[in-house]
C-alpha cells in the first residue's frame, strides 16, 4: 500500500501513464460513440433516443465509482495516513461531480421523449441528484481544509460517510417502485439489453474510465506540484 506513498515514485509512474490513458480513452470513446450512433438500430419503443445510453450509463457508473474512490482514499488517509490519499480524493471529486451532472443531464434529455418528462422525484433520480450534491459539498469542504494538516480529516470523514448513498442508488430501482427502469446489465445473470447495444456501451464505459483516470492523475500531479511550491516558498521565506 505504501509502495507508491513516495510522491517521486508515484510521479515516475503517473507521468508516462497519463498520455496513454488520455489518448487511449479519447480514441475508445470516439470509436464507441461512432459505433453506437451510426451502426446500432433504433430501439423498439425509444427509437433513436436509445443512443444516449452510450454516454448516460458510463457517466452514472463513473459518478458512482468516483465516490467509491473518494471513500477508499479517505479511509486510507484516516487509518494508514497515506500521504497521497488526500491528494487522490480531492483529485477525484471534480471529475466525479462532472460525470454525475452529465448523467443527470443526459438522463433528462432522454426522459423528455421517452417518459414525457425531464424530471421526476423517484428513488433513482433523487439519489443520483444527492450524489451530485455530495460531490459539491465535498469539494467545498476539501477546499476549506488543507491537504496536509489534521483538519483534512473532516473532508475524509465526509468522504467515508457519503458512501452510504451508493447502495441506495444501486438498489433504489429494486427496493422501491420507480419511474426509472430496473437494472438491464448483469455480470452474473443474463442482461436484458440486446448485444447490439451492450458492446458499444461496454467499449464506451472502458473509454470513459480511462479518461476519468487520466483526469485524476493530471489533477493529482498538479496538486502535488502545488504542495511542492508551497513548501519551497515557505522554506525561502524562512531563510
Amino acid at each position: 500500500m505504501h509502495a507508491y506513498a513516495n510522491p517521486t515514485r508515484f510521479l515516475s509512474l503517473a507521468r508516462p501513464l497519463t498520455p496513454w490513458l488520455l489518448f487511449g480513452g479519447m480514441a475508445l470513446v470516439a470509436a464507441a460513440c461512432a459505433w453506437g450512433i451510426f451502426s446500432t438500430p433504433p430501439e423498439r419503443l425509444q427509437g433513436d433516443s436509445v443512443k444516449i445510453i452510450f454516454v448516460h450509463v458510463p457517466m452514472a457508473w463513473l459518478g458512482m465509482a468516483g465516490w467509491t474512490g473518494i471513500a477508499i482514499a479517505s479511509l486510507s488517509e484516516l487509518i494508514w495516513r497515506h500521504p497521497l490519499a488526500s491528494h487522490a480524493a480531492r483529485a477525484i471529486a471534480v471529475p466525479g461531480a462532472l460525470f454525475a451532472l452529465l448523467c443527470l443531464v443526459t438522463g433528462a434529455l432522454w426522459g423528455r421523449p421517452a417518459w414525457g418528462t425531464w424530471w421526476v422525484w423517484d428513488g433513482r433520480l433523487t439519489s443520483m441528484l444527492v450524489l451530485f450534491f455530495l460531490y459539491l459539498a465535498y469539494i467545498v469542504l476539501a477546499n476549506e481544509t488543507s491537504k496536509a494538516s489534521g483538519r483534512s480529516r473532516i473532508a475524509a470523514i465526509f468522504g467515508v460517510v457519503g458512501i452510504v448513498n451508493l447502495p441506495i442508488i444501486r438498489f433504489s430501482v429494486e427496493w422501491w417502485e420507480t419511474q426509472h427502469q430496473g437494472t438491464s446489465i448483469s455480470i452474473t445473470g443474463k442482461s436484458t439489453i440486446d448485444a447490439l447495444y451492450l458492446w458499444p456501451l461496454l467499449v464506451s464505459a472502458i473509454g470513459f474510465s480511462l479518461l476519468f483516470a487520466a483526469i485524476v492523475l493530471m489533477r493529482m500531479r498538479a496538486s502535488l506540484a502545488e504542495t511542492k511550491v508551497e513548501g519551497r516558498l515557505k522554506r525561502m521565506a524562512a531563510e
Binding site: P41, P42, I53, I79
Partner: protein
Amino acid sequence: MKAKHQRLTLAVLALLALVGAGLLAAFALQDRANYFYTPADIVAKKPPAGQAIRLGGMVEEGSIQHEADGVTVNFVVQDGKARQSVMYTGITPDLFVEGSGVVADGKLTSDGMFIADSLLAKHDENYVPRELEGIDMTGKMTKTETLVE
C-alpha cells in the same frame, strides 16, 4: 502499530454503524419512497376517493380504447396481481403502447375508476432493436435480416 490498529477498529465500527443506519433508513422508507402505487397496492389498502395518488403498472394488452372525442382514452393497468381501469384525457406519450409501462397521476372515483391528470410512459429494462421486433414507426412490418446477423 498500536495507533494504526486502533484507527482501523474505529473505522470498521463506524462503517458498520453507518451501513446499519442506512439500511434502517431505507427499510423505514420502504413504503413511502415508492414513486407510485401498483394496482395490487390499491386493492390491499384502498386510498380514499378523490385523494391525489400516482398509479403505475403495465398497460394490459388489448385494453386501450379511444373514445369518440379523439382525446379521451380508456385502458387497464395491471401488475400481474390486480387490474385497475384508467381514464385519461389528453395527448399520450410516444412510449404509451399496450404491454408497456405507464405511470399516471390522478385520483380514484367512488366507483373505483382512476381518473388520470397526466400520463408518463415507463420504459422497462429490456432494450430490443426495432428490427428484431418487426415493428416500424410507420406501422409497416419490416424484417431486416441484415442487422440481425
